[in-house]
Symmetry: C2
């Protein structure tokens, strides 16, 4: 399926008007997030890999053109133009795995106006969603205090594309793998999983189920909460005493703090050191709470609430015209004022920790490390992203995050974001001009 038509119709009607009136000048659009969602102190870039691929492969098939013709909105010369369409502009972005903040440009596209316009919807669709998931995962990684997390979300993710990309993004954000086999195949990331309650229930009793499973898998993780968790643990001990190798047990319901402590103790009392794997409605809030209360865990299976970013299920990323051949551009709708001009974000570190960011015009000289990187030049991809590299990059970046931002609740201090004097001045002048 060619996805280039996955766009709001207005992108094409606007493109048509630009085409007919020869207004296809070079323009710059920037994607940024308006504000931090609930409880978030920072955001994490993600999906740049997909966006680079989508832009470089963007085209319309004969079938797409036939459909557009059927809408009876567009002339044949425009449809011919679309048939031969290829992106020839420049794309800059903050790489996947980097930390960023509202109002900072995350993706910057400079291209003929039609090209930049036609990409808007699909870029927002991919970035808003993937960055939302990455931002959620970073919080879960922080709350889990080094205990490995695994993506268990496919059954609650919003469809197929979502399930695949949640697995990928969570892996970039230092989850150790996923239960999603197709994601394992496509992205070459580790897959995990052993048994469900239905497996246990398919046998006359729990012990028979465990014995049967042990016939076919070496050192599995056994699910012990189908009927009674403590009784389940006792059956595992019986099997361990018989010499079976069992890697761990999974508890998926009930009071995870009490049950994990009791189960660990029961095993310890008998001299067995086996792993405790916790799952069931986990997110950063629950993990933080149960660990604070002394829950014992060697790994977490994190599903629904991560895969849907349930407490903040969307990012309000927008894609705005900031400059064209006629000059700087600004929108002044109430509460929706934008920063004009082609921009770069500079980050200043102190002793290896993020100290502040400066949003400046692209050509300003500014201290700090520039965050936006050029991925596409004149339509040619300079660099694709690699999942393993993004994963390492995220880990490095997370280690530079100041402690005051590492909370599941809203930090009392905001991370400092400055706007350069030059940029502020241009903004004020434009606001004045628009209201004259």
């Amino acid at each position: 399926m060619n996805i280039s038509l996955l766009t709001d119709l207005y992108e094409i009607t606007m493109a048509y008007s630009y085409f007919k009136s020869n207004r296809n000048e070079i323009s710059t659009f920037e994607l940024f997030i308006r504000n931090l969602p609930k409880n978030r102190n920072f955001l994490v870039s993600a999906g740049i890999d997909d966006i680079i691929k989508i832009i470089s492969e963007f085209h319309f098939t004969d079938d797409d053109i036939k459909y557009l013709k059927s809408l009876k909105l567009f002339s044949d010369d425009f449809l011919d133009y679309l048939k031969n369409f290829k992106f020839k502009g420049d794309v800059w972005a903050i790489p996947s795995g980097q930390i960023y903040f509202p109002n900072e440009p995350v993706i910057r596209i400079t291209a003929d106006r039609i090209s930049a316009q036609l990409l808007e919807t699909i870029i927002l669709n991919q970035f808003n969603f993937q960055s939302m998931i990455a931002s959620k995962c970073a919080r879960i990684i922080i709350s889990s205090r080094g205990i490995p997390c695994i993506d268990f979300s496919p059954r609650r993710d919003h469809g197929i594309d979502s399930a695949l990309k949640v697995a990928k993004v969570s892996y970039i954000c230092n989850f150790i793998g996923t239960s999603n086999v197709l994601a394992g195949k496509i992205f070459n990331i580790p897959v995990y999983g052993t048994m469900a309650h239905s497996y246990i229930m398919s046998f006359s009793d729990e012990e028979t189920a465990f014995r049967e499973f042990l016939k076919y898998f070496e050192e599995p993780v056994l699910l012990i909460d189908t009927y009674d968790t403590i009784e389940g643990a006792k059956k595992v001990i019986k099997l361990l005493k018989e010499g079976y190798k069992i890697k761990g047990v999974r508890i998926d319901s009930g009071d995870l703090v009490e049950l994990s402590k009791k189960v660990k103790q029961i095993f310890k009392n008998e001299g067995f050191d086996i792993k405790i794997f916790l799952s069931g409605d986990l997110d950063e809030y629950v993990i933080d709470e149960i660990l604070s209360k002394g829950a014992i865990a060697d790994a977490f299976g994190v599903g629904t609430k991560m895969g849907t970013s349930s407490d903040a299920p969307y990012l309000n990323g927008v894609y705005k015209l900031v400059e064209d051949e006629y000059g700087f551009k600004i929108k002044t709708s109430p509460g929706k004022i934008t920063l004009p001009g082609k921009k770069q974000v500079y980050r200043i570190y102190k002793n290896g920790i993020m100290e502040k960011d400066i949003i400046a015009l692209e050509d300003e000289k500014c201290e700090g490390i520039p965050l936006l990187k050029k991925y596409i030049e004149n339509g040619n991809v300079l660099e694709y992203e690699d999942i393993e590299n993004s994963r390492k990059f995220f880990k490095e970046n997370l280690s530079t995050l100041p402690d005051y931002l590492k909370t599941t609740r809203k930090s009392e201090i905001d991370y400092p974001i400055e706007v350069s004097d030059k940029l502020l001045k241009i903004k004020q002048e434009l606001i004045l001009h628009n209201h004259l």
Copy 2:
């Protein structure tokens, strides 16, 4: 892309154990929702169309098998079995567009145990998500009091599959169409859209932008809030007086109640009756509120909050073993007790309005209309779903919904769901047995 591997790994490890130990007896699994999400009084079935297609086409490619082999978990005889896998069971479901409630089986699959198990994840992925969206859309349709709604969500939906299916599901739930062109093409549903703020901003001033757009589109909807909504409306009046045909204006920001009233009045004063199109962070709560306060609207563009079901971004649907050749099955984990046996849901109407539902065993004689319908028999599809039929079906069903459930907040009265005496008795016996 073949999506049959979009499954949790444990479905395949369990299937392997069933295969090796010859435990592939006929079993029945049912999908149901555990409880109503926040503020919801009912749910709407959706995605049955996709699920029927996915089940009937379910297979593993050579490439899938090669990947599974690389995991070094499975023997060659099992991989050969998967290579020749085809679903040969029966599938029952409550059709897309029907209203249903927690604990009611919505999908029932009777098949050899391996088949039923391998389908779990993908069925949950599609149903949980699509039914969540349908349930959200039904609320928006109720709150919008007959004013047409259009899907504006692609830029915030969770990926590509999500954006396509949100468009489809919202159309089934009586939205009049979508901004999503690819969805329009694939599902043959109406597409809508005219211009964005960036279009207006690309011209030296708003009036020039309007004039340019009017050259290429007959009777468009013009966006009037880029700089100042009232000034925007005055420019539209100027153009109307010059004889241009303009269908309506769109307001996307600011106080929608005050602005829509003022704008309507301005047009009325000049003798023009043009449509007011409202958008910008709308959902059932906002629509209800602004209409109560007298907002004027001829259509709503509903995006982010609908496409992510933002106040309740997941349904906790589960898929449980309820019966196999050894008898009825039940799970007794705390808070997760299931209803055993192959079931049917009967709905009793009074004067055309839903009165109560009865959950009973499939073979019980029961008053009322059975909701679950057979879609697949011995692997053969008896019926595919058609979007236009589902749309009509939803409309009919919504007209039978009792008034006390038509609120955006939790209804004070729950819709009555009974469990048949026979089913209750079996459940009690099984609970007793499991705890002995």
